[in-house]
């Protein structure tokens, strides 16, 4: 990896094998600081494994990952306090109230003024009415807002989102997207967004990486992808890639 690399996230020839089967198969990409990138792919495409390797939760079989200049997973404790993530597949303790959960995670991330930060997030993400309610008593939409609050507690420079609006109704999902958009604009954060939701990626992301069976099938600016494939929506582009149609065939 280039020592002068100024990318927020740098992934180089990354491979992850599980019992000889490639979950991620030699992918490379870089995320510029302050960019928002979509990671598209069907089930089993390798999106979650890629995010887990970027977070240092999974050790790559081969290749390297660097986040904010730190090699992952070896140097993860240098940068984990500058990163955060959100996934609907990870929950928070159900018996603890929202405030208790947020305050524990704020302390883990070394947030300086915990009460003020929770108050600010509660106002921004409209958590006030259930801040003192146990996490287990919240609706799916409320839980997503709490997970998002946890992900933003430390004002992360790198934010990894794994299907942040999965199982949400369209209104709540749209609301979450608007908050993510605002956070990225206000903080110049680098965001990698793994999703099945094409509208979401199209709306939020300036660049899209499309994965299929562990490999990167395409990687370009959203507008360029639409133009190259001659499609009106990202969903059509994704279907072309998923079904193995190349750009020329798709354009015809």
């Amino acid at each position: 990896m280039d020592a002068s690399d100024t990318s927020a996230v740098s992934v180089d020839r990354l491979v992850k094998l599980y019992k000889g089967v490639a979950a991620v198969d030699g992918i490379s990409f870089r995320l510029a600081p302050g960019s928002i990138t979509g990671l598209l792919g069907g089930n089993g495409a390798g999106k979650t494994t890629t995010i887990a390797m970027i977070m240092g939760l999974v050790t790559p079989t081969a290749g390297t990952v660097s986040v904010l200049g730190a090699q992952m997973p070896k140097e993860r404790y240098r940068v984990l306090h500058r990163m955060n993530f959100e996934s609907p597949y990870v929950d928070m303790p159900t018996r603890l109230t929202v405030r208790q959960n947020l305050s524990v995670f704020a302390q883990l991330y070394g947030v300086a003024d915990i009460d003020a930060r929770i108050a600010a997030l509660a106002a921004d993400l409209e958590l006030g009415e259930f801040l003192d309610r146990p996490n287990g008593k919240l609706s799916a939409g409320q839980k997503t807002r709490v997970s998002l609050a946890k992900a933003l507690l430390n004002k992360p420079e790198v934010l990894l989102l794994d299907e942040p609006t999965a199982s949400l109704d369209p209104d709540t999902a749209d609301w979450v997207r608007s908050r993510l958009d605002a956070y990225q604009r206000d903080n110049q954060a680098t965001i990698l967004l793994a999703s099945h939701n094409m509208n979401e990626v199209e709306r939020l992301c300036e660049r899209v990486i499309i994965m299929k069976q562990g490999r990167i099938e395409d990687d370009d600016a959203t507008a360029h992808l639409l133009a190259r494939y001659g499609r009106a929506t990202l969903e059509d582009v994704f279907l072309d890639v998923a079904r193995g149609r190349n750009q020329r065939e798709a354009a015809q």
């Binding site: 992850k16 599980y18 979950a23 979650t48 494994t49 887990a52 977070m55 240092g56 939760l57 999974v58 050790t59 997973p73 404790y77 240098r78 984990l80 306090h81 500058r82 993530f85 996934s87 597949y89 990870v90 929950d91 928070m92 303790p93 159900t94 018996r95 603890l96 109230t97 208790q100 305050s103 524990v104 995670f105 302390q107 883990l108 991330y109 070394g110 947030v111 300086a112 930060r117 146990p134 946890k150 430390n154 004002k155 992360p156 420079e157």
Partner: protein, 272 residues
Amino acid sequence: MIASDAGVNFSVRRVSAMVRRYWYLLRSSWPRILDLIYWPTVQMLMWGFLQMYVAQNAGFFARAAGVFIGAVLLWDILFRGQLGFSISFLEEMYSHNLANIMMSPLRPVEFIGALMIMSVVRLSIGMIPVSILAIAFFGFNLWSLGLALAAFFANLLLTSWSIGIFVAGLLLRNGMGAESLAWTIMFLFLPLTCVYYPVAVLPYWLQYVAWALPPTYVFEGMRALLIGHVFRADLMLEALAFNLVLFAAASFAFRKLLQSARVQGTLLQTGE
């Protein structure tokens, strides 16, 4: 980024965050607190009444004041110490919170530190009332053992933490499939560490195994104190030496199991 004590060093602040997390959980659930007291009380009462019966019908050693009841209280320190450690760890898996924890800046050594503290907290909630009940029912005052009790307690707790650390590693590596070990592994120590009888009772070859386990020295030390009225500091030092080896081995195993979990991707999938 608004972190105030970021960095790679050990952080008391992060350890206290985890202790707070477990404390919030404990105090929110009265069945959890009741469970800490219930079994130690039942055990203490059963063995206490058995000892009363034996005292009326058996010889000198069986009549020796508090041997059974002392054994059951010390056994509970060992067993509940490990259980307190392991259950706090399991709470993260039950609540699907483990990935949040493992992707946070919390270091494994800080996580282990918090679990050790919670093991003492849970043990105290259970054992302090039970030790007072032992005075009320049977006139057996565990606290009167004084310095010896401190030596027994420290050695038993060290063993319980070592086993807890090893089980936590297995849970990280194998997911909830290893859950039953958390509840049962300590029972392997029950016959081998000679909780209720002297080591001499065991077959000769098995005595070597027994003397390789730190709690054996504690239970022999307890009998020496209650029957012979002698505090065997030599046994406590031997227990400490074996405990240091056991703790180092458990920490090494945890480290290797965590590395393996990162390679196998089991931290992402902590279900069955």
